[in-house]
């Protein structure tokens, strides 16, 4: 009976959860604490409901969203490390945040990129050598060839939003994307503007996405997507 109720509840749960929040049935619903641990201090008297009751010892753990028995959440270790092509933990994508009002010019943004990197590599000279790509349209950031250790130092700098391991944007051509940055000069490359019209309106979407049918909210993507562009790297000149 309990399993029926459980299944019913977890079915409902799994319909409402995005796929990634679901977990696989691993048997028992919850892990109970080893209650072999004796209470090291005298048991506290039951506290009135108004007080925050804190117990210093562990007790039964009940339900955890982490091990909710719904499909598709494997807790098995990965068989090997998977890396995206081009990802070597020496190429880093550093995304910065700029104010909208006033919005800086391309040169100003690139100046900021150089200054930011200079703060960790020592000089602007050095920074210019290490930056291999820049972008001021699709995203506001640059690619830097630095060690993993240095990349952690960049994360804390002002204006830096993300420091992520970079990988090839154009895999067959082993190209990291963005505009090239050579000797402190920007070499613009042809960009593919991704617009709403070119979206998969004519192409039918893959059918699987049951949650779209039960989500309580607007299913549409925000129209803001229309202004982001896709940097489509052509063959290098």
């Amino acid at each position: 009976m309990a399993s029926v109720a459980q299944r019913r509840a977890s079915n409902l749960l799994s319909r409402l959860l995005p796929r990634s929040l679901l977990s696989r049935d691993r048997g028992p619903l919850a892990r109970l604490t080893v209650a072999a641990m004796e209470v090291s201090h005298p048991a506290a008297p039951p506290l009135p409901w108004l007080f925050v009751a804190r117990s210093k010892t562990t007790s039964g753990s009940g339900y955890s969203p982490l091990n909710d028995p719904s499909p598709n959440w494997s807790n098995r270790p990965p068989k090997e490390t998977i890396l995206l092509d081009g990802c070597d933990y020496e190429h880093w994508l550093i995304v910065m945040e700029f104010s909208e009002d006033p919005k800086p010019s391309e040169d100003e943004m690139i100046g900021a990129y150089v200054k930011t990197l200079a703060a960790v590599v020592g000089s602007e000279e050095e920074a210019k050598k290490k930056i291999y790509s820049v972008c001021t349209t699709t995203y506001t950031g640059f690619g830097a060839l630095i060690s993993e250790e240095l990349s952690y130092k960049v994360k804390g700098l002002p204006g830096v939003l993300w420091v992520l391991p970079d990988s090839y944007l154009d895999v067959p051509n082993k190209d990291y994307g963005g505009d090239l940055f050579v000797d402190g000069k920007v070499i613009h490359r042809p960009q593919f503007r991704f617009t709403e019209r070119q979206q998969t309106r004519t192409r039918p979407r893959p059918r699987y996405d049951r949650r779209r049918e039960t989500m309580q909210v607007e299913r549409r993507e925000p129209m803001m997507r229309g202004t982001s562009g896709q940097n489509h790297r052509g063959k290098p000149e």
Binding site: S20, L32, A53, P77, P78, L84, R225
Partner: protein, 615 residues
């Protein structure tokens, strides 16, 4: 009929574009115009108008239009059937279909059959799907390839993959949709090799096909291969002009708890220009939260331009699992202010947060509010969280009342929560009562048996103790082995309890010994009660020493960049001794250590844990 003031062509086009834009006002204006010019009964307007209303989500208007229509032909039926099929109650389409056949005696055409089959797919009914299939075969449209494609899809969705294949094989000129439906069918039903075989036979492999394959693999639980396929896809010349495949593969890295892969994908998402996608944003929030980087999860969340209930809920649950109860509750307030309605999962996260922070009153308020304010009926999981909340803070009588009065049969988790609390409060008669109930459920978790055995021992019921130990011994064989793994980007390593990989053996053991010395100086005493085997004390200590999470942390200390956070994932609940040890290690080394175990996340920093020693 009054003379036409406008040629019909542009009007129909205008209707279609209003439909596409889901512009209700425009639809209504055009309807008014059609009425005034007397065109509303002239084809193609009746169906175009109906279609427009349906797409603009004015389904009742569409229905009304249909009922009022003097001439209900196949075209009009098609439009309404299609609209109903896409609505949130697709079964309405089926009743309409029956009416079409029996009342209006309109014979279905190919398009209607396709719609019918798709409706069965959406409902997930194999039984109805087969009936539709039969009708289709008996009709004059039995060679329609579009319907056959839909049948392939329907059988796949209803898990009858071999039937899907049979239909697939009858199609002489398979088009792209048909191929993809079959590949998707195999993939999502776990038939990997067949999916791959067919995939590589396809005349053309576009993003749609790759996505179907990858998401199918993910659905059937093979996240690892899904990611490998994505890497393969990137090597082909396919352009990612749709974000679905990205959200699928981010979901796969959540599944694998692969933070480094998730970060790489995040980079790709930004570089491709999808930073404003809400669906991708939600997937990233979930990925960072599941991979133990709650700060990045929060950063992505704060950066979301648009947020829906999934965004908020994912973040609330993430905060809850990381022990940030105040953060979770605060988010909930903001969520309500933003006008977003919470769902079941939101409340699970919130009550869970409260139960782990001892916020009894708040937790109970939320539990009541769930049904009263938001019309959500509490599930067994919610009750279990509530029981946990009450029993941990000593409200045993209330807890017992809840467990006896709740509308679900209590399971192992529920009784276990109560029992461990009872035991702590040293309420022996109640403990024994609970223990009997729990034993009657034939529990599966080894730690439950320890709980039971200790309970009976404390009550002096030695016969029961013996029988529990006997069951425990039988259980021991099937116990899941403990392992931990650590992901350092370029490499990751798996540690099983007691085993150290040959290459790092000396360094790891030496480091652990050094740390042990330092810990002893600081007052550490091994807690051997966590060891369940009946062995010498010495050996118990040795066993603890070799627990997998310690080995993983040692590896992390040796190999990671100094100063960075060490992240370890363990498949079982972290034991009491390791929890203690890791607190010491975090203090000694000055590093932040995050361990994800079977239940929650533990952030060890300067000698303390985010769970408050309350897991």
């Amino acid at each position: 009929m009054p003379p036409l003031s406008n040629p019909p062509q542009p009007l129909a086009a205008l209707l279609r574009s209003s439909a596409r834009r889901r512009d209700r006002t425009a639809c209504r204006k055009l309807h008014a115009h059609l009425l005034k010019s007397g065109l509303h009964q002239r084809p193609p307007f009746p169906s175009a108008l109906l279609d427009a209303y349906a797409k603009a989500a004015l389904l009742s208007d569409a229905r009304y239009l249909f009922d009022e229509s003097s001439h209900r032909d196949a075209v009009l039926y098609s439009a309404l059937l299609s609209a109903l099929s896409h609505s949130d109650r697709p079964s309405q389409a089926l009743s309409l279909f029956r009416r079409m056949v029996s009342v209006d005696a309109v014979p279905p055409d190919g398009f209607i059959f396709a719609t019918l089959v798709k409706t069965c797919s959406r409902i997930g009914s194999l039984r109805l799907g087969k009936q539709a299939h039969a009708q289709f075969l008996l009709s004059s449209f039995f060679t329609d390839d579009v319907v056959r494609s839909s049948l392939v899809d329907m059988y796949s969705k209803c898990c009858a993959v071999d039937d899907a294949r049979k239909v697939f094989d009858t199609v002489p000129d398979k088009n792209h949709v048909c191929w993809t439906a079959m590949v998707s069918g195999y993939a999502s039903n776990g038939r990997k090799s067949e999916a791959l075989e067919l995939f590589w036979q396809m005349p053309r492999r576009d993003l749609f096909a790759w996505t179907a394959l990858i998401s199918g693999f993910l659905q059937s639980g093979d996240s690892f291969d899904a990611v490998k396929l994505f890497v393969e896809m990137r090597r082909s010349e396919v352009e990612i002009d749709d974000s679905f495949v990205l959200s699928t593969v981010v979901g796969a890295s959540s599944d694998l708890a692969a933070l480094e892969l998730g970060r790489q994908l995040h980079g790709l998402v930004l570089a491709l220009g999808y930073k404003s996608s809400m669906i991708l944003g939600n997937a990233l929030v979930d990925m960072y939260a599941k991979c133990s980087d709650i700060r990045s999860a929060r950063a992505v969340f704060e950066g979301l331009v648009m947020r829906d209930v999934i965004s908020w809920t994912t973040m609330v649950v993430g905060e809850a699992q990381h022990g940030r109860a105040i953060g979770a509750l605060d988010l909930y307030d903001k969520m309500l202010l933003a006008g977003v309605k919470p769902n079941e999962v939101t409340f699970t996260g919130l009550i869970y947060a409260c139960s782990h922070a001892g916020l009894v009153q708040k937790g109970c308020e939320l539990f009541d509010s769930m049904e009263q304010d938001h019309g959500i009926r509490p599930s067994l999981q919610h009750y279990t969280c509530l029981l946990d909340l009450l029993s941990r803070s000593g409200h045993l009588t209330e807890a017992e009342n809840v467990i006896n009065s709740m509308p679900y049969v209590p399971d192992e988790a529920s009784w276990g929560a109560l029992l461990s609390a009872c035991k702590k409060q040293a309420d022996t008669p109640m403990s024994v009562r609970m223990a009997d109930r729990l034993l009657g459920l034939k529990p599966k978790d080894p730690s439950t048996y320890i709980l039971l055995s200790n309970t009976y021992a404390a009550a002096g019921k030695w016969d029961n103790v013996a029988s529990v130990r006997k069951l425990m011994a039988e259980m021991d064989v099937k116990r899941e082995p403990g392992y931990s793994w650590i992901d350092l980007g370029k490499e990751s390593c798996l540690f099983r309890a007691g085993e150290v990989p040959y290459t790092m053996r000396h360094e790891i053991i030496r480091l652990l010994n050094e740390l042990a010395n330092e810990m002893n100086k600081r007052g550490y005493v091994p807690d051997t009660r966590s060891v369940m085997h009946d062995v010498e004390e010495n050996e118990k200590e040795q066993q603890l020493f070799m627990h997998s999470e310690r080995l993983a942390v040692a590896f992390g200390l040796l190999k990671s960049i100094p100063g960075t956070t060490i992240r370890v994932i363990k498949n079982l609940r972290i034991c009491v001794d390791c929890h203690n040890v890791l607190k010491f290690i975090s203090e000694i080394t000055g590093r932040e250590i995050v361990v994800r175990d079977a239940n929650r996340f533990h952030h060890f920093e300067v000698g303390k844990c985010s769970c408050g020693d309350f897991w």
